[in-house]
């Protein structure tokens, strides 16, 4: 797949606060790429720069090999589905979708044919003459998608388009968006802070924080091989423990030497070790690699979330079996469940569940909580 869009050294500041810091990224033709990160990480600003609503302070933006920084939004073959839909309230559903065609002075029969086809694609046939303000959130969303796609853009930008919908509808729309993207085969650039949404829809995920790209990869790469503590913590739940790489495939953490599958570190290099809660098995204390005390147990539906204190560090374990609080348990970890990361600026900031268990104490002591 060819590079369709390329960002080179893009920076942007608002009132001397750096929102995007020298960002390099390329986007291939026909891929579903997601910019994922917490609010304020610069993902929406990146999208607005690509869409032409903001100018980057520095850097270059290429579209099919041409620099387009100074090309205004209306001349770019890029359309957007806005967070709050931005449908035109003075026009009905039909005229909203027909809007881009009307600008091009296309003949009425052709407009009608195309709008009907679009309405069919987003499952809104028969809604032509409805006022957009009478539609539900999900329906407005579909009108916005149809309107953005009718003039066949090469790229569709989606700015948290499902943020205002309820959970059930959001899941349906995720599937629908993915199938629309596969059907028409154009590039989708999707912005979200919802990691689950990013993992389930995207071909490529770009994790951002503080205006910088933390990691680019497929959803499985991002989940299984996070590059630093931020990514490991932001995507799913993670225990991130300080460790020392004794040699290739041998890591020491919590004074126990574990076999692992990673290598390529210096001898005795300090590292961050990621262990996902679902990869930790609860066993009898005498069979465990490490021994700890259960401090809290929460039922989550599919599993129990167990917080275990191991030598002062609180681990999260997800298990389908119930374990009583205060009980001493052993844990067992397979070598391939251990992921080693280089130390980064995010080391030590994430991956400890002590604050999590405090919160649990606070909730369980509801009587004392009244006083706060």
């Amino acid at each position: 797949m060819a590079k369709l869009i390329e960002l080179k050294g893009i920076s942007k500041s608002y009132d001397s606060e750096k929102v995007i810091d020298s960002m390099d990224l390329y986007i291939r033709d026909g891929e579903f790429i997601t910019l994922l990160g917490p609010s304020g990480c610069g993902k929406t600003t990146t999208l607005r720069i690509i869409g032409g609503f903001e100018q980057a302070d520095e850097g270059e933006l290429y579209f099919e090999g041409t620099e387009i920084s100074s090309v205004p939004a209306y001349k770019r073959q890029i359309n957007t589905v806005f967070q709050k839909y931005a449908l035109f309230p003075h026009l009905n559903v039909y005229e909203n979708i027909a809007f881009p065609l009307r600008l091009k002075k296309i003949k009425e029969e052709e407009v009608k044919e195309k709008v009907t086809e679009m309405l069919k694609m987003v499952a809104l046939s028969g809604f032509e003459n409805k006022s957009v303000s009478t539609l539900s959130g999900g329906q407005q969303q579909r009108v916005a998608i149809a309107r953005a796609l009718i003039s066949h853009p090469k790229v569709l930008l989606l700015d948290e388009p499902l943020g205002a919908l309820d959970l059930k509808l959001r899941k349906d729309m995720q599937n629908e968006l993915k199938s629309i993207q596969q059907k028409i085969g154009i590039t989708f650039i999707y912005v979200t802070h919802d990691q689950e949404e990013a993992l389930s829809m995207s071909d490529t995920v770009v994790v951002m924080a503080n205006g910088k790209i933390q990691q680019i990869g497929t959803p499985t790469d991002i989940y299984n091989e996070p590059k630093n503590a931020f990514v490991a913590d932001f995507i799913g739940e993670s225990n991130i423990i300080d460790g020392i790489m004794l040699e290739d495939k041998k890591v020491k953490l919590a004074s126990h030497v574990f076999d692992c599958v990673d290598g390529g570190f210096e001898k005795n290099e300090p590292v961050d070790v990621v262990i996902r809660p679902e990869d930790v098995d609860v066993v009898e204390p005498e069979r465990g690699m490490l021994i700890g005390t259960v401090t809290s147990v929460t039922f989550k539906g599919v599993h129990y979330e167990i917080i275990v204190d191991i030598k002062g560090f609180k681990w999260m374990i997800q298990s389908t079996d119930y374990v009583a609080p205060e009980k001493t348990i052993g844990i067992y970890i397979e070598p391939d469940a251990i992921h080693i990361m280089k130390k980064s600026e995010y080391s030590g900031k994430f991956g400890d569940y002590s604050s999590f268990s405090d919160e649990m104490d606070y909730i369980s002591n509801a009587d004392t909580a009244e006083e706060f």
Partner: protein, 272 residues
């Protein structure tokens, strides 16, 4: 009991407000010139009113002036409101807003007087008789004092609308000009219309500023009425005032109907 008290109170307020106007309307249909006794119904004074060419010209002048000044101030005011909205510098923005508000806060007599001075000076520089720029002076004066009202009526609409719709229009291929006319303007129309209606009525009944700026060859109705009261008020002025009241009433009815229609549409839409 309390309910009745409220109603009586309300009726009293309306009575105080409208009895003078009703008296005026009643006596405009009087057969004689008496202001004390109603001698019988007649359209005598209306006939007299329309047979006076002076009144007719003044009415025509007033209407031309009101229509032109409301149109011009609506166009300039809407453009100004959009410009003020787009200003990024907050300090400059509040400065411009203050400048906009000054003509509204300023006593009319001061505005009128200062404008007269300006126009006399301009006429002097152009070596023209003041009379020959009379209409232009009047039009400029009326546009000036109508402008802040239009801006204040349009700006909140633009603020409320925000950037998202314009951005969507640009995104879908509109040039910035197209985006304004195809998307923004239709959505701020209620504000534009009410601004224009306000400008129209303000221009229609302005006396103080017109008194200073106006010249003998361009008289408006308020000026004419005033000049007549210097002599003896004849009941044909009652007739004229009655017509003005009716015109304002119709205009108000029309704009309120439009407003309430717009509101029910909004409520029926059930957005948010």
């Amino acid at each position: 009991m309390k309910k009745y008290a409220w109603r009586i109170y309300l009726c009293l307020i309306f009575a105080v407000l409208y009895i003078p106007i009703l008296t005026l309307i009643l006596f405009s249909f009087n057969e004689t010139a008496s202001t004390a006794k109603f001698a019988g119904f007649s359209l005598h004074w209306y006939k007299e009113l329309f047979s006076s060419p002076e009144t007719f010209t003044a009415l025509r002048n007033t209407l031309i002036l009101a229509v032109l000044s409301s149109l011009i101030s609506t166009v300039i005011g809407t453009a100004a409101a959009e410009g003020i909205y787009k200003m990024k510098n907050k300090l400059a923005k509040s400065a411009v807003m203050s400048v906009t508000n000054i003509p509204m806060m300023n006593p009319e007599i001061v505005t009128g007087f200062s404008m007269m001075l300006l126009f006399v000076a301009v006429a002097g520089i152009l070596r023209m008789e003041y009379e020959s720029i009379g209409f232009a002076a009047m039009l400029i004066a009326h546009v000036t004092f109508c402008l802040p009202y239009v801006i204040l009526s349009v700006l909140p609409r633009i603020n409320e609308l925000g950037d998202s719709l314009s951005e969507a229009a640009l995104d879908l291929g509109c040039t910035p000009v197209q985006a304004f006319f195809k998307v923004k303007l239709p959505n701020i129309m209620p504000g534009v219309i009410s601004g224009m209606a306000m400008a129209f009525t303000l221009s229609l009944d302005d006396f103080v500023i017109s008194y200073f700026v106006g010249s003998s060859n361009f008289q408006t109705l308020p000026l004419l009425i005033y000049s007549m009261t210097k002599k003896k008020v004849t009941p044909d002025m009652y007739a004229l005032s009655t017509l003005i009241v009716v015109a304002v009433f119709v205009l108000l009815l029309f704009s309120n109907m439009k407003k309430s229609k717009g509101e029910t549409k909004k409520v029926g839409g059930g957005k948010k």
